[in-house]
Symmetry: D2
Subunit: 377 residues, 4 copies
């Protein structure tokens, strides 16, 4: 694995590295950890990467690595930069024969996303997007229960992603994570709706297996001086007639990272909360509520396969993130060995999910500015 | 107390009676328990009401009771009939000098509600509406914390009222509670939005002290054959610029009576859930989350005054309902004795709350049918 | 109902009155509310009892009421005094033909308890003891699940009753509730173990249907100056070979009234917590955990019958307490009418439970002082 | 790192490897993964270890690795075998100049443990014992709050470790994990009390900073045919006069891995549950309960330092386990570089904790067989 971004002081780069390392199957062999070559070098040294494979730019990394013998060179690129630096390294990596795993949202805007989708199709390389929350075992269990019809036809979906860390104007204080996420030149047209709203959208569509067809959004910026949205409330229509609500917020003071979803069908409902991810609450019309648990003996194979330890030994955010990396790596290896990977392990978000997310961003921000009630997505 | 409605087989009538009885201060002395005189008689007998004061109609009850000596006759009327039989007994009782406590929503439509409001003003009688959820101590604590500015300016309000009991076409099976609630000739223009949506609206305005100024609603009827809405998702704007979401549903399969609210201000947020009503979760921007508890030593007097037993001895729905009755009775007694009641105990929902609820119903159902995004309330 | 004790400033007297009033079937007609006749009079006036039936002593009450015509006089006596004033009024009431409902523990010591048991047997009067926690619907559900073998043979029982309100020497400050409970001349040989330990013992035997046969206790007084125990940890052996732990404490700082029980059998376990009494958690060896809920549709008739309102409308401490009163009253009425009461409603703690509690107190305090490991109960 | 044990099919070996890998600082370079050389080879191949460094026995591994140049050879040995194969490899590794990290309990019996302690002292090598639950950030927060006197003097400690996986005679079915844990020739004199009881004992002493001085145990074997204890209830006395209860069970049907602890002091209490490890509940005598959270801004540096991701991104069992490995590795590196490690990172269980655990096992099993009430530890 070669990494683009994720130098000293970054947050998500470290997460990607731990997720990649957990199963002992992926090695960080090179990187362009910063657009500042000195900083990239320092970061590489700290991470134990051989100095000759710490590069000053992603262009250099891709070019130089390509020159190495296949068994020596990086097998894929991990892109962990802010949104405006997803497109260029992803496109160049793909076109030079490297698989890509990229942080979300896919790109700076929908146009870039659509272009990337074409590049992936054309090159045939593997592309994963780290909508990491779909890596949780109980999210997979929820998806399989719905797919197998256990809840009946879906009628209502409530998906929420409240955070509180942008309740004040922290970007003015130089907080690095806040700075780029609230900066339209680096983040794109959306703030909260891009950063976390897309996770909510992705989770809802992943679990229900249903596409959002139209939406009606109320988008706000509460903190004075902020340049992008920090809160949004959205009504949803799904393709099968189900209705829903999505809200995402970074000014819900006191909330940590409270992504959660509830889905109701004709026969029952389910509830999953990221902050207590090992329990899936299943409510029935005519039976007592059940608590399905990570590692429990009654799960679908798709859920079982993404657990590493026995029930009651809590798994968390990094393990779910690692599931995306592991499946991506297994698929790369299967392809290298000319094998068909076990379908239970081929499940990771792709460029199509990324395009979907960018469509959601454009629709939701557009709706927020529109007096029209319903906007198609 | 004289009761209109609440005969054998009714649900909410029994609740009103238990709520009234709990503190040993209110006695059921007469009633017109059913529009069917035989059934009224049977109900009265079962309830231990003297046969001569069991009436065949509310008109008869009001007329006959008025003839009794003041110290003997009922002091107020409790109306626990379906929505279409609120207006007439309430108006007649008020105009004949009886105070009235009435189940919600106030009336069959807004016009009736506005008329009743005028009658209350004109007669000067006391009028309580049983938006009983405001009777919970921790709801009062939430209101006082916000009123005292503990959360700072309010930015976001999420209020939900999911139930699942109408997930199937139960009204077709003769279930009495379902039958009238889904019948436009008895319930009015709204189903779920009137029955429980108004509770959510009332709770949000009560706790925040803020009025909803406009809304955007997505109103649905999921169960085939049903004549009124059984689900609604609503975006809210509040007078101070706060944004919100309200949803109410009777097809959220597996949900019992899950009214809950979350409010976020600049400094923190709070969360209250009716099904675990003795805990108020308060989340802070920069401090650990706190759990305020019914009966705990750190509450505002308004919360303390509505608790009957020590912390850790759970109080429930009936106790909260009883708080409405007790305050109503205390105010009646204070008036009879020419005293000013302790302000801590004067808090109960009034006809104004009822008018507000009917306005909400008209706006939300109107919005559901409109292609316009925002509708004023 | 005539009451002994429960005058102004008392706690449990008010609870008994609310519990008795809730269903509108029991009327407080007389009382000896205090051993101080003036205070008794003032209390009676405040409670709306006719002045001529407010008595200066329980002896006077029993004598005078007996002189009234049967249909006029009180039908039973409710004893809500401190422990040392249970025996005399109970005995006198029973021997004069009045049924008795008495607060727990049954008496000041085992000897009194055994005498009372004989008086009950001899007089044939009804006697209820307010081990009120057995009045909760989900406690009855737990009992019935075990009785029907759903958990298999019981192996382990954990019952806890932690409170924190005696963490400091509050009895020195004149706090009335603390004063008598920590006073050996009024409370008996036990403090916490008598006041709340007996509730835990009763709950464990009620739910499991198993008797404790021997125990090993570690009894402590943590607060300097206190005269009775304020904490106890006890190992338990049950008649069928099951093992268990009971602990009760009034110095568990920060705990409110956290009575709870867990029972494990060969096939599964269950857990009930008084502070969230409407949920019974049932854990299975090979199935997802289930949440049984008050008012839910899957309960045994014994649990269903002790619920007043639909699922999701929380019931609490007073409702459970009221179930004891209601069943006691139904049995009195059935006897008066020469009928056999519905067995579902005959369930309330009796004098035998009271004797059992006093045996527990003597054994547990004895064990605490003994170097011997196991003490028979 | 060189590993002893942990071949294909093992459970805890995989946990150690993931924990070691997470931070990208420890590399598995060699191993004697099984006492069966063929199986060791196969395991090594699967784990990507160079074939020439996959050894047929720990003796061979230690000898051969010692011959390699210092910068090439393994720096420490990780022992993940059943209890009866802890002592020999640990002793040999230490005496040959390798640091050791070893699974718990420390040894097969107390005698081995005391010998190992001397070897550690004599050789001066570093020794870590994976009482992994002390690696959780909120466990460290609990310890620091008590150490800083926030709860006042400690009065009561309740520590529990219920599991249900041995509710039936699974060892008869060939389940590998059950087989050795219930076999006295591999596990030692204790079953549940050794396997998980020692974790509970370690957690209680770690958090409170207090030693258990005497205990009174009720030890049981519920499952017919089982050779070792599967349940134990223990009364505890602590050095400062605090009282406590410890229970550990593997027949608590329906329980997963529910280690938890509650500690009460004069001013408040705290509660931590391994299955929801990111919340520390702190209850106060006179203030609302607080929820301290992993990653929150109000934690002691010792808690902060053992978190990898922001609050609300749940961390789990592997992250806590990894904290033991990381601290151990940091101390090895600091020693190699002649530096003093940051004291915040020197915290891991040592051979002394292991000796303590073996003393606990001997005392608790001894007490279980004794008619004497209190046994010194």
């Amino acid at each position: 694995m070669g990494m683009v971004g994720g130098g000293i002081g970054a947050f998500i780069g470290g997460v990607h590295r731990m997720a990649a390392a957990l199963d002992g199957e992926i090695e960080l062999v090179c990187g362009a950890f910063s657009s500042d070559p000195e900083k990239s070098k320092a970061s590489g040294a700290q991470l134990g990467v051989s100095p000759e494979r710490v590069y000053g730019s992603f262009e250099e990394m891709i070019k130089q690595e390509k020159k190495l013998r296949p068994e020596k060179r990086m097998q894929f690129v991990s892109i962990v930069t802010p949104n405006h630096v997803h497109f260029a390294p992803a496109k160049m990596a793909l076109e030079n024969g490297f698989h890509v795993i990229c942080d979300k949202p896919l790109a700076f805007n929908l146009k870039e996303a659509l272009t990337l989708e074409k590049v992936v199709q054309k090159t045939g390389m593997l592309f994963a997007l780290t909508h990491n929350y779909t890596g949780y075992p109980m999210v997979k269990q929820a998806r399989m229960m719905i797919r197998h019809g256990e809840l009946g036809a879906i009628r209502k979906v409530l998906v929420e992603y409240p955070q509180g860390w942008l309740s004040t104007h922290v970007e003015a204080s130089g907080q690095k994570q806040a700075a780029w996420r609230t900066d339209p030149t680096r983040s794109g047209i959306a703030g909260a709706m891009g950063d976390i709203g897309t996770h909510a959208e992705n989770l809802a569509e992943y679990i229900t297996g249903l596409k959002i067809t139209e939406l009606c959004a109320d988008i706000s910026t509460f903190v004075p001086g902020r340049l992008l949205d920090d809160d949004g409330n959205v009504l949803l229509h799904f393709e099968n007639g189900a209705k829903g609500i999505l809200h995402a917020s970074q000014i819900s003071a006191g909330e940590e990272n409270n992504l959660n979803i509830r889905v109701y069908g004709e026969k029952g409902g389910l509830e999953w909360r990221q902050m207590e991810p090992n329990t899936l609450i299943v409510k029935w019309l005519d039976k007592p509520t059940q608590l399905y648990r990570t590692g429990g003996g009654q799960l679908y194979p798709e859920a079982q396969a993404h657990t590493r330890i026995p029930a009651g030994h809590p798994e968390g955010y990094l393990e779910a993130f690692a599931n995306i990396y592991r499946n991506f790596a297994l698929c790369i290896r299967a392809r290298a060995e000319g094998k068909t990977p076990d379908p239970v392990y081929t499940d990771f978000p792709t460029v199509a999910d990324g395009v979907r997310g960018m469509q959601f961003i454009e629709s939701v921000i557009g709706s927020g500015k529109s007096a029209k009630k319903w906007i198609k997505i």
